[in-house]
């Protein structure tokens, strides 16, 4: 292992090309991560099948189109109208020069379009095809429609999330992106296998199963015992205190979690309540758990007059796991995050600047990076159809005219 040498210019996926037919959130997050790692990602859309990030999103409260979409950074954009008779042929040509093909159509649609796995294998024997769907490519529910909150429901994660005496909770984009993250891990594994054995394959990612994987412990508990805990709010059985406490300021919070007796002792020192160490309500972990609501009240009284930052520093100094509840502004202004490059300022081609999430890993020799802004729809038509596929300008113009490139 070498850590002292300067980073090299290689990125882990340098030279890997992806034909990206994904839209919405889950699939594009998968290819976003692969693009951060250096893959050349060709995002395929059309005027009649534009990704939602280019449009307003009123249900989410976004009344205008997004001006920058994180997950489109580093990607190339081309247009193929899959409804045009020549659409499938153009898609096949792009896939033929790619190593990985990602898609998030409803199961069966790719086959109907003539670009299902079997058809692709015929033109590119070792293609790694990654399908991201709501319920997977097989089974009676394969055609089920879904968005993040819905597979959060059918996969149980949203059902088990929430207050003990309240309803289930919608999972938001983290559910989509958790699916994309899982798909990226699987795509990398499948590509690694291809590199070693020369064999491609079809990777099947079901968002519902990703949600299920997040409650794998509850599923195992249920299988073994016939029951599982329902919604538990912020509790983790046996851990107390374990909650989110109010701090100075409007809607400001700190998370505090205590598992071991040594951490409990640290908390009592930080609070100046060492007498609790001999208080029979709190002296043992079992006692703290039984009296957790009372304990929560006492801690809330203590936290509410201090800032999140001061409390975090103090508690960490005493060996207690505590951290401010960060909102987006906290994250982009956080010196630690900035020093890691985990958030960074980007500049658009027009000179507009904004903060974005950077690469979530630091490789000592092959760092990833965000290099380019969200591409305009079709910005790279000439590069992909002309330069990569060798089509003459006249042919490209003809396809544009005919709305095959549309």
């Amino acid at each position: 292992m070498s850590i002292d040498k300067k980073p090299m210019t290689n990125k882990p996926l340098q030279g890997v090309r992806i034909a990206d037919f994904t839209v919405h959130a889950a699939g594009p997050f998968c290819t976003h991560l692969l693009a951060l790692l250096g893959a050349e990602c060709i995002k395929v859309e059309s005027t009649n099948r534009m990704d939602v990030f280019r449009k307003p999103h009123p249900v989410y409260g976004r009344m205008e189109a997004a001006s920058f979409a994180q997950v489109a950074a580093n990607k190339l954009s081309i247009q193929i109208n899959m409804k045009h008779p020549r659409g499938a042929e153009l898609a096949r040509r792009v896939i033929a020069i790619s190593d990985i093909m990602c898609e998030s159509f409803r199961p069966g649609v790719m086959d109907r379009l003539g670009i299902g796995y079997e058809a692709l294998k015929a033109i590119k024997r070792d293609i790694v095809m990654v399908s991201v769907s709501a319920c997977g490519q097989t089974g009676p529910d394969r055609n089920y429609r879904g968005y993040a909150p819905l597979f959060g429901a059918t996969g149980g994660l949203g059902t088990l999330t929430g207050f003990e005496d309240g309803p289930p909770v919608e999972m938001r984009h983290v559910m989509d992106h958790g699916t994309g993250l899982t798909a990226a891990a699987a795509a990398l594994a499948a590509y690694f296998r291809k590199k070693r054995t020369g064999q491609g394959q079809h990777v099947d990612i079901s968002a519902r199963e990703v949600a299920m994987s997040f409650i794998g412990d509850a599923l195992l508990q249920f299988a073994a015992t016939g029951h599982s805990h329902g919604r538990q709010g912020n509790d983790i059985p046996g851990m107390a205190p374990h909650n989110v406490y109010p701090c100075e300021g409007k809607d400001m919070w700190i998370s505090i979690a205590v598992a071991e007796d040594s951490e409990w002792a640290g908390l009592t020192r930080a609070m100046g309540r060492e007498q609790w160490l001999s208080d029979k309500r709190y002296a043992s972990a079992a006692g703290r758990w039984d009296n957790r609501r009372e304990l929560d009240k006492e801690i809330s009284e203590w936290t509410r007059t201090s800032t999140r930052e001061d409390l975090t520093k103090l508690l960490q100094k005493h060996g207690v796991a505590a951290f401010a509840s960060y909102h987006a502004k906290d994250i982009v202004e956080d010196a630690h995050m900035r020093s890691r490059g985990a958030v960074k300022q980007l500049t658009s081609p027009e000179g507009e600047t904004r903060m974005a999430v950077g690469v979530p890993w630091r490789f000592s020799r092959t760092p990833g990076s965000i290099d380019t802004w969200t591409p305009k729809l079709g910005e790279h038509n000439r590069y992909v159809f002309g330069e990569l596929l060798g089509m003459a300008e006249s042919e490209i113009l003809e396809l544009i005219e005919d709305r095959a490139i549309y």
Partner: protein, 403 residues
């Protein structure tokens, strides 16, 4: 890269996992299911503290969490604070492709397993560091459990939304079930590790700094994007303008109509009541602005409906609707059975039970073939057969409590 002798993606890759965190162990689980040989190092005696973390498989007090995230691994007990223990760890690392470690940076120094020390003569080794806040930066030595990392990443602050928030507007934010942020950190580590393996033949080994916070911030990136659009998200403003969790007569459904035809399907599903005929409802932007009025109506309607009816009729009308289900319904679902995503495992003292295999399906199926054994169950196999030590050495180390 080592040759593959079977068809799993990571066949032949050896991972030494020295982790106590859920994130690190979950990364090891995924790598093991992808075919890697994962050797878990635990403290002698009681082993990994996660063995004592809830939820439990009652009766035998086995941790369902530990067992779920430690399948398909070997367990070796080593006290790396001793000279012999550290030497044995280094011997193991010479046989390994990946060192997966979640020791805090200050403790790495104390133990003698800093990246520089491990690099030594392990040229091709990938050192994958998985820590709540990463290995660099002012928070790198901070302690954090799941609740803390979830809140460090931005999503903790934003939960819950919708109905749960409206019912309890003054309560603190509520966490996502279980170990969500940790599993995300672990999956992120898997991405980084395989990326390192992919370029290992070009650049050799390297140090990869994986932060659970960074992974969760990446997952929550739309909130950063919204900030760039001038909107600081909070729990109240982020709620869906209409739809979301609806209470029915016998349970809950989720409803999300993002597209015009889905809204029209919903109107049909409700039987086209008078209020849906108002002019302003035709414009999706107006519906977004006046979502509260819509919610009042659809919540009142949903209360008299049965979940199953709604889901079946809704799907037929292309309305995105889903039932909130728990483990019982998930395990009984036809889709679950058809997809073959659970495998039978034998739990000592409990019997044969089903465990979820993996959230990905390869052409070459992943298999659950080793249930977590007792700490140190594989000491002899690993230390004697793999490293070539004698049984008498092993017995001596056991007496000295090194293993």
């Amino acid at each position: 890269m080592p040759a593959a002798s079977n068809d799993t993606p990571l066949n032949g890759i050896v991972v030494v996992e020295h982790c106590r965190s859920v994130a690190g162990s979950y990364a090891g689980r995924m790598l093991a299911l992808m075919g890697a040989t994962v050797i878990k190092i635990e403290a002698p005696g009681a082993g990994d503290p996660l063995r004592r973390m809830p939820p439990f498989i009652d009766g035998v007090k086995r941790s369902a969490l530990f067992d779920y995230i430690n399948v398909n691994k070997s367990s070796v007990t080593l006290d790396v604070k001793t000279k012999t223990g550290l030497a044995l760890l280094n011997e193991l690392l010479k046989k390994a492709d990946v060192f997966l470690d979640d020791t805090r940076p200050s403790d790495r120094k104390a133990l003698g397993i800093t990246p520089e020390e491990v690099a030594g003569d392990n040229a091709p080794l990938l050192f994958a560091s998985v820590l709540p806040f990463g290995a660099h930066g002012q928070h790198c030595d901070y302690l954090a459990y799941e609740l803390n990392t979830l809140h460090s990443g931005g999503e903790g602050y934003l939960m819950p939304n919708g109905l749960a928030l409206e019912l309890f507007p003054d309560r603190p934010p509520v966490k996502i079930y279980g170990q969500f942020a940790q599993f995300v950190g672990g999956t992120s580590a898997v991405c980084a590790i395989i990326s390192g393996l992919l370029i290992q033949d070009v650049v050799g080994g390297q140090f990869i700094d994986i932060s659970v916070q960074d992974a969760n911030v990446a997952l929550s990136c739309f909130n950063i994007q919204r900030l760039g659009e001038g909107v600081l998200e909070n729990r109240h403003a982020r709620s869906f303008q209409y739809g979301g969790v609806l209470e029915c007569s016998d349970g809950y459904v989720g409803l999300l109509t993002l597209e015009q035809h889905q809204w029209e399907g919903l109107v049909q599903l409700m039987g086209e009541p008078e209020w849906t005929k108002e002019e302003w409802l035709k414009d999706p932007l107006n519906r977004g602005r006046r979502g509260a009025e819509i919610n009042k109506q659809i919540r009142a309607w949903a209360k008299s409906q049965r979940v199953e009816d709604l889901v079946i009729k809704g799907q037929a009308l292309s309305v995105p609707l889903a039932k909130y289900v728990g483990p019982d319904a998930i395990m009984a679902a036809e889709q679950t059975k058809a997809r073959d995503v659970f495998a039978d495992v034998d739990i000592p003292g409990v019997g044969t039970v089903s465990m979820l295999t993996a959230p990905f399906q390869f052409t070459t199926p992943e298999k659950l073939d080793a249930y977590p054994a007792e700490p140190g169950a594989n000491n002899a196999t690993v230390l004697c057969e793999l490293l070539g030590h004698s049984r008498s050495e092993l017995d001596r180390w056991a007496a000295e409590r090194v293993v």
